[in-house]
């Protein structure tokens, strides 16, 4: 019994220091603390067949044994041949200083005058050397020296700069982030060519040693938020860091809430736009998805397309999106509440017609709605896995067709099919997938509340949802800004309506600099 409780506790309560998946019995730390030498490296890495150890000799004043260690597949072999092996093996003979080379000074001399190449540096720690090798650089060991040279010659197969898959728009740039960190940072730099753009590197993950980069614009981003981001990243201690979702859950304010508190993007122009608003981005190597914090609710209902369209059109589009989200959340619940508890609202003609069409249906309104929605969810989930052309249509069309057949069979009423169809389509009006998922999840409790308590139930449910959203903060920023606390300028500028560009004189002030997350008990 105790162990069950303990397990439940572990699963539900989040510890202060986020440590998951304890490391296996032995750790690499002791090996990495050994003094640096080519021999040790060979011992550590020899097992893998894709690591190449190229040994050669340099003839200077003394005979110097050297070893080049690279990972085949991650290094640009051309650069190796041209800029390391050729100068050392072929051209060295003609170098003016070749006669003075000894074991003691070979490294410095090679670094300063023999090898060409942009990225060339010295390392003195075993961990750095191994890291460099495994990251795709070439490392050169000279004899028994306690230092080594790292030559940056990375080059591996990658996707390059392709069109982003999840966010496509009609009018705007088509570049998307790729899996390589450096390409991504370069895409960002091209958008913001200002020295105040900071790109700060971190490594996370004991086993994966994933590179990540925190970017923000100095003086625009709130220093509190930046420091909070670093603080939270620092508390993460885990073995693997394979993608952004690992980080997301670790640094979120409230992992239990269905609402996303961190937004993400695949597009450099979106990232640049958000950075210019004062947000902070986290780019992780190995995934094209970039995290952006802090995030507020209204942001998930925005699409970048808004900024490339005309102001009036964008206003209409935004309004339709809000309406769609509202309908997606509440349409089935309102239908259930009205037909089971509050039939007075329905005008008599409609009442008679609904009554007629519901003759012989064996399920109550609540059961009908639940059954249809569950079927819809299954279809939508299945649609994701089917091949592209069939997948997207199966979701809604399938639901409608099946619904129609069910109506003919007398299982559900036609009005329910319409309501469910409307709900399904409206949920696609929510541009962010995460928020759409949240809405889909919350729909069910609302329907049950409506089925038990009618409008009272829906009202109570809505208020509870509202209170939850009001309590939620994303890195110190209240989730429901700018509606509450009310920031009228931001509200008018960018939330409900989108003012034309010439009216957006000041940056929307979403972040309340007076409310600091630090010093708050239990939050942040």
């Amino acid at each position: 019994m105790r162990s069950w409780l303990k397990m439940l506790k572990e699963l539900t309560i989040r510890p202060k220091v986020k440590q998951i998946r304890k490391s296996p019995a032995y750790s690499f730390d002791e090996e990495l603390n050994k003094p640096l030498s080519g021999q040790t490296v060979k011992e550590i890495l020899a097992e893998s067949s894709d690591i190449v150890f190229r040994e050669f000799f340099l003839q200077g004043k003394e005979r110097i044994p050297c070893m080049l260690v690279v990972v085949d597949g991650m290094v640009d072999k051309n650069q190796l041949d041209q800029f390391i092996l050729k100068p050392l093996l072929v051209d060295l003979a003609g170098h003016p200083e070749v006669a003075q080379l000894t074991l003691a000074n070979v490294l410095d001399k090679t670094l300063q005058s023999i090898l060409p190449g942009l990225e060339l540096k010295k390392v003195a720690k075993m961990g750095e050397a191994i890291d460099a090798i495994l990251s795709g650089d070439a490392v050169i060991f000279f004899g028994e020296s306690k230092e080594a040279l790292v030559f940056g010659a990375r080059g591996w197969a990658n996707r390059g700069v392709a069109e982003p898959i999840t966010e496509s728009i009609v009018k705007g740039p088509r570049e998307g982030f790729s899996e390589t960190l450096r390409i991504n940072t370069s895409l960002l730099r091209r958008k913001i060519k200002h020295p105040s753009l900071r790109i700060i590197s971190l490594k996370l993950g004991d086993l994966t040693n994933t590179d990540l980069v925190v970017t923000y614009i100095e003086k625009i981003a709130s220093p509190d938020i930046v420091s909070e981001v670093f603080r939270r990243l620092g508390t993460i201690k885990m073995d693997s860091m394979l993608g952004n979702s690992y980080i997301e859950e670790m640094i979120e304010d409230d992992p239990y809430s269905p609402f996303p508190q961190i937004s993400f993007t695949e597009r450099p122009d979106v990232l640049a736009g958000k950075l210019l608003e004062g947000k902070v981005g986290i780019i992780v190597d190995g995934t094209p998805i970039v995290l952006i914090v802090p995030a507020i609710l209204t942001q998930f209902l925005c699409v970048n397309e808004d900024y490339y369209q005309r102001a009036m059109v964008a206003v209409l589009a935004r309004f339709i999106r809000y309406l769609g989200a509202f309908i997606a959340l509440l349409a089935p619940s309102i239908y259930i509440a009205v037909t089971t508890f509050h039939q007075e609202i329905i005008p008599t003609d409609l009442l008679i017609s609904i009554s007629a069409t519901r003759q012989g249906v064996p399920l109550t309104a609540l059961q009908e709605a639940l059954a249809m929605l569950v079927a819809l969810e299954i279809l939508q989930e299945a649609g994701l896995r089917l091949p592209k052309p069939i997948g997207s249509t199966i979701g809604i069309v399938g639901a409608l067709v099946i619904g129609d057949a069910a109506v003919k069979a007398g299982l559900i009423s036609p009005l329910m099919v319409i309501i469910i169809g409307l709900t399904a389509v409206s949920s696609y009006a929510i541009p962010t997938f995460d928020l759409g998922l949240a809405v889909r999840l919350i729909r069910f409790p609302f329907m049950i509340l409506a089925g038990i308590l009618g409008f009272f139930g829906i009202s109570v449910g809505l208020y509870i949802l509202l209170i939850h959203l009001l309590r939620l903060r994303s890195f110190g920023v209240p989730y429901l800004s700018p509606i509450a606390p009310l920031r009228l300028r931001a509200l008018l500028q960018d939330t409900i309506v989108r003012a034309p560009w010439w009216a957006l004189k000041r940056r929307p002030q979403l972040i309340d600099l007076k409310e600091t997350p630090a010093g708050r008990k239990g939050k942040g």
Binding site: L8, K9, T12, I13, Y256, T339, T340, F341, Q343, E344, T348, L351, I352, S353, I354, S355, A356, T357, R358, Q359, G360, V361, T364, A365, G451, I452, L453, G454, K521, G522, K523
Partner: protein
């Protein structure tokens, strides 16, 4: 403030949810279980103190081409509305639903006996609305609601539609339950409720081909005046029309001068807009009420015009028309004022007008208002403006 720990709040919520789900849902009714009540009729029952309550339910069925409506009308003798409800539930498999009630038909006999008691249910029970229509039926309400109309509609639905379209003809008042109650509360004005009756082909000058049996129709015409909640008398068609004028309740009406004496040329037209204002006049200490009716009319028919007219003659003719129209309206108003004096019941609301404008004077005559009505000076002044005469000016003539 501490954050509420998830396990604890989860526990509390689960407990609440369980208790709600286990005990079941209350007050939950599925739509198809309902029998919407669309018409209610009251008559006096055989036993003293009981009513004959007619309830008209709708039963909807999915037919071949859409929805079919079946008529389920029951008449029950009971001493209260709830008792009737109980008796009907014994034969009906569905729950009576009051929220869709649109019309209450009051039989003549029960109207004379007093209607407040039976209307109490309608104004107290939350499912009803105060926008339900009230109508008095000549004869028994039961027979009206049991009619098989030629157009296939249920009588209650038909009555409601007829009442609503009455807006554009403005010859009978539309009385909601709320309005009736508010008027009753003033204790000065006598409530008025429109009257309907069933007619057969040939009645009232309307003939139609009756198929099958009788082929009756329902006609709404005239109104009933109440003393308190007892029916006192009926108003004729013209008196009701006068009431409509004086109560500023005219939306659109059709006017017809044919039949008024001494005119060779007869006009008919449609009232486009009409306002009635009143003023409390004080002439040498005698207080009276003066009505001022202003209406604009469009002439739709000119009959009896034998010759083409010049422009000035045309203008004169139309001036004459204005006077004729005014005479028609005045006559209706006078008839209704006369009736008021006759009955001693202030259905025109004159007392209320005086109270609004001259409360000090009103206090002096409040006590014996009913006698005062008989001699109270009321003047009516009608002003008609003819806006246009349609698509043509003169009429086609033979010479």
């Amino acid at each position: 403030m501490e954050r509420i720990r998830p396990p604890k709040i989860g526990l509390v919520l689960t407990l609440i949810a369980c208790s709600l789900l286990l005990t079941g849902c209350w007050g939950k009714r599925e739509v198809e279980e309902l029998a919407p009540l669309i018409g209610l009729g009251f008559d006096l029952g055989q036993k003293p103190g009981s009513y004959l309550i007619t309830e008209q339910f709708v039963r909807a069925k999915q037919g071949k081409e859409g929805v079919e409506i079946q008529d389920r009308t029951f008449s029950i003798e009971a001493s209260s509305a709830r008792e009737a409800y109980e008796k009907i539930s014994k034969i009906s498999s569905r729950l009576p639903f009051m929220g869709s009630l649109k019309v209450i038909v009051i039989g003549e006999d029960v109207a004379k006996a007093g209607i407040n008691d039976m209307l109490d249910f309608a104004q107290r029970f939350s499912e009803f609305r105060r926008t339900m229509y009230l109508v008095v039926a000549k004869g028994k309400a039961q027979s009206i609601l049991n009619l098989k109309l030629r157009n296939g509609l249920l009588p209650a639905i038909f009555i409601k539609n007829n009442l609503e379209t009455g807006d554009s003809i403005s010859i009978f008042p539309q009385v909601h339950l709320g309005h009736y109650l508010t008027v009753l509360d003033t204790k000065i004005t006598a409530p008025i409720i429109p009257v309907l009756k069933s007619i057969k082909s040939g009645d009232e000058g309307i003939k139609y081909k009756a198929d099958g049996k009788e082929g009756e129709e329902i006609e709404i015409q005239g109104a009933g005046v109440f003393r308190g909640d007892h029916l006192a008398d009926f108003l004729t068609d013209e008196e009701t029309k006068g009431y409509m004028w004086l109560d500023n309740d005219i939306n659109h009406r059709t006017l017809n001068t044919a039949g008024s004496e001494g005119s060779k040329v007869n006009f008919s037209g449609q009232v486009l807009k009409s306002t009635t204002k009143y003023k409390v006049s004080d002439q040498d200490g005698v207080v009276g009420l003066q009505y001022q009716i202003k209406a604009s009319v469009a002439v739709d028919e000119i009959m009896g015009l034998k010759e083409q007219l010049s422009e000035t003659e045309w203008v004169d003719l139309l001036n004459e028309a204005e006077k004729s129209f005014a005479k028609v309206i005045e006559k209706e108003c006078q008839l209704s004022i006369q009736k008021e004096r006759e009955l001693g019941l202030d259905f025109l609301g004159i007392g209320r007008h005086i109270e609004e404008e001259n409360p000090t004077y009103w206090k002096t005559i409040k006590g014996h208002w009913e006698e005062q009505i008989v001699n109270f000076p009321v003047a009516v002044n009608v002003e008609i403006t003819i806006q246009h005469s349609g698509m043509s000016s003169g009429s086609p003539t033979t010479n």
